[in-house]
Amino acid sequence: MPDIGVRNFAGKINCPNPFWLASAPPTNTGEMIMRAFDAGWGGAVWKTIGEPVVNVSSRYSATDWNGQRIMGFNNIELISDRTVEQNLTEMAEVKKRYPKNAVIASLMVASNREAWHEVVTRAEDAGADGLELNFGCPHGMSERGMGSAVGQVPEYAEMITGWVKEKARTPVLVKLTPNISDIRTVARAAKRGHADGLSAINTINSITGIDLDTFVPRPNVDGKSSHGGYCGPAVKPIALNMVQQIMADPEAALPLSGIGGVGSWRDAVEFILLGCGTVQVCTAAMHYGYRIVEDMAEGLDNWMREKGFNTIDDFRGLSVHRVAEWKHLNLNFKIVARIDEQKCIGCDLCHIACWDGAHQCIHLDRVSGPIDGHVELHRTPAEEQAESLGSIAETPVTRKEREAAFAHGQYPTPLARIPRVDETECVGCNLCSCVCPVEECITMVRVDKDVPPETWEQRTKGAARAAPTSGD
């Protein structure tokens, strides 16, 4: 029986599961957070508390893709527009009613010691289980010297973390901005400032799009827009990379709450495999509501059961060291694409992708006769298309004609449309398997046999000694 509970995260934060709502609109009020806990969320990071702000109307915009809504999401909303008092009164009520769920107070105040001391004390007095220092907010607040204005300068981050730690009795998490050339510099600063943990990543500076009629970027605030913070499924790969960078760096690594495009238990597992102890979710909850956590918890539980993991710590961080520098990759590892003729539907997207985007080694020559070898030996896609357009097609009007038109041979797809991989030219780039719309139709098969591994570093060591070159 797997236990998906979190024990002593960042020292002493406990909660029934690793799924937290990130500091954002879904955690705006006590009423919302209590409904979220009822739905099954393990924890919630309160919408950032500080001196109340005034927000603009028109705050969000999204990137849709291929008919899907909200591939990426962008906001220009600031921190809480409610008073510190109001937020903390509600927090006390939430903690009283939901003692087992983690309530983290996200904080952002002006950069002076007294202000931080005061807000830390008040949040902890209200019952916060931990504090998250918002050094990441990329819009609006940074113009006032807060948010990412702090998170982009390691010295400030270290200093403020230090001030907080002077007072804090609960774990202190520093929330990192990705809007910096190397996120590790600030992670290291937080660690030097004795932070107990980190949250990463905050949103990425963005302009999601421009209205082609008005020429105003979105979101449109009376004819103008402002760069916002990008999040949602689109940012997950960026977030995973930064999480890995932090967790692989001994000077930066701390208990980490992973953020960035988490919308399912699968995403959560990936963040945990890279070392995160909890994950935070915002966009997916804004899109579908709190109810998404049910499947997240169940899915995680089922996956752990299937893999034989009892606790989150059993698999936490297993993938961190599966990421290496390129120079340490095995150059003798060789894979090629194989197409399953029974599964191929004949869209031939792999063929055109290979010709126009890769190495011209997937051909439509099963009927004309397979030819292996370099590009000049094959008909080009343009020649193939010209032949189709020059052919004469007729509507099959009789039953016999219809039977003939829709007859197929050995495979569900006519042989002429099933592409063939020339394995002598295939470099194993994976592009075809990425574009193939049919699951497991194109698989990448390992073909290197009895060749010992050799990395770039190993291969060039001797050469470098023999003939030094400039750069790498």
Partner: protein, 442 residues
């Protein structure tokens, strides 16, 4: 062009409302996004006019509706009517790779209609070169899809084309012979109007039936394209079939589409089980007939109608009498008709009458729908144009006939297929003529 047009008849509209509703803009975009954008797409290959299907679909997805429509029209000038009348189940949609993944095929016909509707709404005409930029004049005899496509293709390339149609309105079966719930006659006429705007000249109500008329044509034009279609509907060849109350399927369809037949009642018997028979039977139901029988001498498995047409007829409430043969028509009481029939069965390769199976159907209208006869009368006057098995013998690639100045396409060559086949035939002939003219003037 003839100034004759059709009124937008509310009575007709009410009874023959469009079979499938149009896609909303968002539904069209969602459906377009579903398209995989196959390379050298099977849907394009299956289309006789080779419309770049993924090309026009992805233009809908990107919001480039003008480009989408022009992409369609570039391959098929009758893209609007084809979107409505093509049996896509056995063409583009039947070839869609989605079905091999247990997905519904992309709704290509509805998407094509979406793009074409937007184009209509914009009031634009497809681009064409200025008339006379090429020294080529072609007469297209017959005003149906084959001639329209041929003439449009010629004019778009800068040649001059004249369509000669014996009926009052051009469009051929698109105007007079397609079920109104698929393609309204007014929409067919509107499509022809677009073709006229490309520079095609129309001479309607003109018969080319004498050697003098043919000679005159040959003097005026470099080439003649024959888009004659098929001949009159086949007769039943039973006694009494000229009795008042017998009206063949194409007459019935043309009559209701042009407002001359507005109401039916009682019992209607359609003889035959092809696609036109079904159009007539469904029309009879919609015009008010209580009972509509389709009488077919063979079985359900052998009927030539497309499966989706058969299903549709059943939904319209048409009843089927299989393996039954009409033997005579008698006048009945109060202007009604008595159709004498017998049951038949397969005996070796022939049909034989089942003894004691005579049955008389008391009905109000009998509609023969057993196919069109070949058009031979006029063709015999054209020297060198060979007719084989009732079809004009023409080169498959070019449509050129035994007389090198005559080209042909559509039903009169293929024996009776779909609108899209006629368009393809007309287009191929036009391209061949343009090429010949280029060589001649080079």
């Amino acid at each position: 062009m003839s100034t004759a047009t059709l009124p937008d008849d509310p009575h007709l509209k009410a009874r023959f409302g469009e079979l499938k509703p149009a896609l909303t803009t968002q539904a069209a975009v969602i459906e377009s996004d579903r398209c995989l954008n196959c390379f050298d797409a099977p849907c394009t290959a299956a289309c006789p006019t080779h419309i770049d299907v993924p090309g026009f679909i992805k233009r809908i997805a990107s919001g480039n509706l003008r480009g989408s429509a022009l992409r369609i029209l570039d391959a098929n000038i009758l893209g609007a009517s084809c979107a409505r009348v093509c049996p896509v189940d056995v063409l583009c949609e039947g070839a869609c790779v989605m079905v091999r993944q247990n997905h519904k095929p992309i709704q290509i016909a509805l998407l094509q209609r979406h793009a074409m509707d937007a184009f209509w709404a914009s009031g634009e005409t497809p681009p064409a070169k200025a008339a006379g930029t090429r020294k080529l004049r072609v007469a297209c005899i017959g005003g149906g899809p084959a001639s329209l496509a041929c003439a449009a293709e010629l004019c778009r390339a800068g040649a001059r084309a004249t369509v000669i149609e014996r009926r009052e309105l051009p469009g051929g079966l698109n105007t007079y012979g397609v079920a109104e719930y698929k393609l309204r006659a007014v929409d067919s006429v509107r499509e022809v109007e677009m073709i006229r705007q490309l520079g095609v000249e129309f001479r309607c109500g003109v018969e080319v039936d004498s050697p003098a008329a043919i000679e005159k044509l040959e003097a005026e034009f470099d080439f003649v394209f024959l888009g004659l279609g098929l001949g009159a509907m086949q007769r039943l060849n039973v006694p009494g079939e000229d009795t008042k109350g017998v009206m063949n399927a194409l007459e019935l369809i043309a009559a209701y589409k042009t407002g001359h037949l507005r109401e039916l009642h009682g019992t209607v018997v359609v003889v035959g089980a092809g696609n036109t028979a079904i159009d007539a039977a469904n029309a009879a139901r919609r015009l008010g007939a209580d009972t509509v029988y389709m009488l077919y001498r063979r079985s359900e498995q052998e009927m030539s109608a497309f499966d989706f047409e058969y299903e549709h007829a059943k939904q319209e409430g048409v009843q089927f009498l299989w393996r039954r043969l009409p033997v005579a028509v008698q006048p009945g009481e109060h202007g009604r008709l008595l159709l004498e029939t017998v049951q038949v069965r397969q005996a070796d390769r022939k049909l034989e009458v089942v003894p004691d199976s005579e049955a008389t159907i008391d009905c109000d209208l009998i509609v023969p729908a057993i196919g069109q006869s070949p058009l031979t009368e006029m063709l015999q006057k054209l020297r060198g144009v060979e007719v084989r098995d009732g079809r004009i013998a023409a080169d498959r690639e070019t449509g050129q006939t035994g007389n090198p100045r005559y080209f042909a396409g559509g039903d009169c060559v293929n024996g009776g297929r779909e609108v899209v086949d006629a368009v393809a035939g007309g287009k191929r002939a036009a391209m061949a003529m343009l090429k010949l003219a280029e060589v001649a003037h080079a």
